[in-house]
Amino acid sequence: MYNFEFAKPTTIADAVEALGHEEAQALGGGQTLLPTMKQRLAAPATLVSLNAIPEMIGVCLNDAGEVCIGGATTHAMVVREAAAHYPALAALASHIGDPAVRNRGTIGGSLANNDPSACYPAAALASGATIKTNTRDIAADDYFQGMFETALNDGEIITEVRFPVPQTANYQKFVQPASRFALVGVFVAQFADGVRVAVTGASSDGVFRWTEAEAALSGDFSKSAVDGLSVPSGSMISDLHGSGDYRAHLVKVMTGRAVAAAG
């Protein structure tokens, strides 16, 4: 790790100001950034911690019935505090990494990084969440723009994520055996006006909606509704942990299981 300056602002405004400096980098829980810095693969001049900004921490319900999670809220807090409002989201958070990761890592950090194998992007996309930043609201459908790519501008901070709560939902993760990130993860959410299905881990384009399954499940929310479908393997990741064909197959299996579990 190279030397760096460290700022720990207590307001969003101060954080934005600090991030305006050259080579400044926002620090969430640091569960990706710090290992990267230790390997000297990243060398920000200044780290701006977002973890001491009270208005960015916590879980609540807003008047629209959305679960609102502050951008600097840890996974562990989501597990505890979202369980009553959105059990499938809390369950997802409870299986990210290990206890140490869950007590440091934050939802804003995860969504800003947009690792193609991370869990939260699937929940945000399948829920039709709104990513609220210091400057604007971004719909999840517009937010995820490919592997490690998002709609965020330089210096823009995720201050809150708002999740509409579906009637029923479930996340199924098939883990990559070494990292235990998602080899394939599928989040299925059934709303009054239809079903949304988001897939993480599988595609070289990052998290995506499996629209064919959404259409089938919106008409018939049952495991058998996806039996006849197939996922094109073209954009699927092929690596030492599994071929594109295998991942495509798992997308279907995990979707079916998520539907069955959501029941």
Binding site: Y2, R40, P177, A178, S179, L240, G242, Y246, H249
Partner: protein, 788 residues
């Protein structure tokens, strides 16, 4: 009732007090006054010509003391190889040089090119990044079969080819073996891979070199399983320092699994640089660096065939193996696929004719050497997978096919040069079948089926040769070392004992189990005995710990030395009681004159030895200290039967281990708890190999599995609760304790059980086209095999 002390008692591991409370003293805990730090700049390409190294910018960076390159080692020896294999034509193997820092070429990702010594580790690393290296990249050879093709790029330009040796064993039997195959009623053939593994000891390697200019003494603190071997190899072959001017200390070591046997470049560098710079020099390996610098294990590609007669008796076995050496010959690499592998191809079976061919191959990969089991897991996996396949082809019960061919009379001379002294393979199989409730399998399988899962049962046997080894024999086989062990037993005046052993404990619990043996022999509390190991300055020359040899060879040396102590103590006791020493008996720490009520205590005798006022000084020297060296007559042959039950998820290919049972015959057992722990650890590594672990290179020689993000280590929830048993005992016939060794059995015996179980599950699920799946049996591989 279980014993509460001495041999056979599950005494608590005394070393765990310091290990579990953070008070261990590992090499990285050693920090010397004025210490500098080294960072190695390593090759990031697999193969290339080293055109130039420009260190000018780096030399001016903060804290830099000196930068070393290959040029600095041009009058210094390279890393030696400790075993010379003779090929099937009677010629010695091709043995390339192995420089401390690359000279002329780099040959694998991780090959050290330069070493920066600086005031801090971070400064050394920063300066290393500023070194400009001009490498002309060359095509890499990664695949062994391609490496052997004519015209393949050569890893070593000065060798004839990438073939280290072509070994035939026993070459004279080849004709007879081929003839048996031509007459066989049935031949089963299997092609398989024994996957390459990274050893991953919890403690990465560390070295601290120190030099005392006033006395010209060099000291190396290092993470080693055998400090005396390192002192000899490094002193005599690399740096030219005689043993009396070189001390090697291996303090608490956090796991080795073979990877800390070998003499590595970093150790020699730190010792060399400390003398050059007159300052201590420290290197601490990072986990990332370990993946590209610790010797890897396994990596065989094999075709094996079994010939059976019309009654299903094994007639002959024929194997053809390519074994990966990596880019250089690590210390004992050539012995692993030959003498630790070919000699085990008989297994537990009376196959009269066996021919083993092994081609050892250089590739642009990290060197490969012994890893827990070393050659014996490879032999066991081939044989026990093959027998399972044969049973399936013949439609016979795999257990019965094994039983029918078991060796039952001992001693038994195999056709592959070793003689099993004792064993009872039916006993461990009988025990295993009780442990696993084989009769209840169908009901369990039906229950799994209801849950949509395919259940399978895999059973196999294993035998291994350990307690290595008779020095004269291994000398004939090419070892450039003896394989005895040593112990000095020092009795103090007040009766306490210090045993200085040439064995080394890096997790095995010697400080506990060795003390149990001496306590038992003399009849005093274990707490009165201290076991000292790991420092060449205060232990007799010994060969260290690997090959499950410590209790069988080191323990035997300790027994011999203790016998000498007892013999002398009896003479002193006889003098004190005015009796003949032939009438003296020692029991529970009391010397008595047989048939009388006269007695003196252990402490009376030890005090007399050091305060010899009333002492037979004309006949006996004062003091009570004895040394013994023990050279075994034979290997020891632990054996057993293992079973694994799995559930396969037919939708995803995911394998879940439901149960694992191990019935082992380790001969006599000193500490059953420690033995169980050794088996547990071995099973975890064997199951890890079978399901998860794999070192993977791409075609250019880049390591794909270079961190725990991609190299899958077994975690607790990947593993079942084990059933282990070591109540079947046929004591070793040729060592004083009747012990065989237990350190590697779990890793040797478990992979075939897992794979046999998965294949069984798939066949029961109707997927009879799946003959074999190469390890690791990841979900992706199992699912792909199921698709046909």
């Amino acid at each position: 009732m279980p014993k509460d002390h001495g041999i056979g008692a599950s005494s608590k591991r005394r070393e765990d007090v310091r290990f579990l409370t953070g008070r261990g003293r590992y090499t990285d805990d050693i920090n010397l006054y004025g210490q500098a730090y080294v960072h190695f700049l390593r090759s990031d390409v697999a193969h290339g010509t080293l055109n130039g190294i420009d260190t000018s910018e780096a030399e001016g960076m903060p804290g830099v003391i000196r930068i070393f390159t290959g040029k600095d080692f041009e009058g210094v020896g390279g890393l030696p190889c400790g075993w010379q294999v003779t090929d099937k034509h009677g010629n010695p193997m091709q043995e390339p040089g192995h420089p401390i820092l690359a000279q002329g070429k780099v040959r694998h990702v991780g090959d050290p090119i330069a070493a920066v010594v600086a005031e801090t580790a971070a400064q050394a690393r920063s300066a290393a990044e500023a070194i400009a290296v001009d490498i002309h990249e060359l095509p890499a050879v990664i695949d062994m079969r391609k490496a052997l093709e004519p015209g393949a790029p050569k890893v070593h330009d000065d060798l004839d080819s990438n073939l280290c040796y072509d070994w035939g064993f026993v070459e004279e039997n080849k004709g007879a073996v081929d003839e048996a195959f031509s007459k066989a009623a049935h031949v089963t053939t299997l092609e398989l891979v024994n996957n390459r593994l990274a050893p991953n000891a919890m403690e990465p390697r560390v070295a601290v070199g120190d030099y005392a200019a006033g006395t010209d003494d060099s000291t190396l603190y290092t993470t080693s399983q055998n400090p005396h071997v390192i002192r000899l190899l490094m002193g005599a072959f690399v740096l030219g320092i005689p043993e009396h001017k070189l001390r090697v200390v291996a303090p608490d070591v956090g796991g080795g699994f073979g990877s800390k046997i070998f003499h590595y470049a970093e150790e020699a560098f730190c010792t060399f640089a400390a003398k050059q710079l007159k300052r201590p020099v420290k290197w601490t390996c990072s986990r990332s660096e370990a993946f590209i610098s610790d010797a890897h294990g396994r990596d065989h590609v094999t075709k094996i065939e079994l010939a059976l007669d019309a009654d299903n008796n094994f007639m002959a076995i024929r194997t053809d193996t390519c074994a990966n050496m990596g880019a250089y010959l690590s210390t004992f690499a050539p012995s692993v696929p030959t003498w630790l592998h070919g000699t085990l191809m008989a297994g537990n079976y009376k196959t009269p004719l066996i021919y083993v061919n092994v081609k050892a191959v250089f590739t642009n990969t990290v060197p490969v050497d012994a890893y827990r089991g070393a050659g014996r897991p490879e032999a066991t996996f081939q044989l026990e997978r093959l027998i399972d396949k044969a049973a399936r082809e013949l439609g016979v019960d795999p257990v019965e096919l094994r039983r029918q061919n078991f060796i039952t009379e001992f001693p038994y001379a195999t056709p592959v040069a070793v003689e099993y002294d004792t064993g009872d393979y039916h006993a461990t199989m009988d025990k295993l079948l009780i442990m696993i409730d084989r009769d209840g399998f169908d009901a369990r399988a039906a229950k799994s089926k209801e849950a949509g899962k395919l259940r399978g049962l895999g059973i196999n046997c294993y035998i291994e040769a350990c307690g290595i080894a008779p020095s004269a024999l291994v000398g004939q086989l090419g070892a450039r070392a003896g394989l005895y062990e040593s112990a000095t037993v020092r009795v103090n005046a007040t009766g306490g004992i210090v045993v200085m052993t040439g064995s080394h404990s890096h997790g095995q619990g010697h400080e506990t189990s060795f003390a149990q043996v001496v306590a038992d022999m003399i009849g005093i509390p274990e707490a009165q005995i201290e076991i000292v190991h790991g420092d060449t300055a205060n232990t007799p020359m010994g060969m260290g710990t690997y090959g499950s040899r410590s209790i069988a060879v080191g323990g035997s040396a300790m027994v011999r030395a203790t016998e000498k102590i007892i013999s002398k103590a009896k003479k002193i006791a006889a003098h004190l009681m005015e009796a003949s020493d032939s009438d003296i008996e020692l029991k529970d720490g009391q010397f008595t004159v047989a048939g009388t009520d006269k007695s003196v205590a252990w402490g009376d005798v030890t005090l007399a030895a050091y305060v010899p006022h009333n002492y037979p000084l004309t006949e006996l020297e004062p003091g009570l200290e004895e040394t013994a060296f023990y050279d075994p007559n034979n290997f020891t042959y632990p054996a057993g039967a293992y079973a694994c039950e799995v559930e396969v998820d037919p939708e995803t290919g995911k394998v879940k281990i439901c149960s694992f049972a191990a019935a082992d015959d380790f001969g006599n057992v000193i500490n059953p708890m420690i033995v169980s722990g050794q088996v547990h650890g071995g099973l975890a590594q064997g199951i890890g190999q079978a399901l998860l672990e794999n070192v993977s290179y791409d075609a250019d020689g880049q390591l794909l599995s270079a961190s725990y993000m991609d190299y899958a280590m077994p975690r607790a929830d990947d593993l079942p609760f084990y059933q282990v048993d070591h109540s079947c005992v046929t004591p070793c016939t040729h060592n004083p304790l009747g012990v065989k060794g237990c350190g590697e059995a779990g890793a040797i015996g478990s992979p075939p059980a897992v794979v046999n179980a998965v294949i069984d599950a798939l066949h029961r699920g109707g997927m009879t086209h799946v003959g074999h799946i190469d390890m690791p049996l990841t979900s992706a591989r199992v699912w792909t095999a199921m698709q046909g």
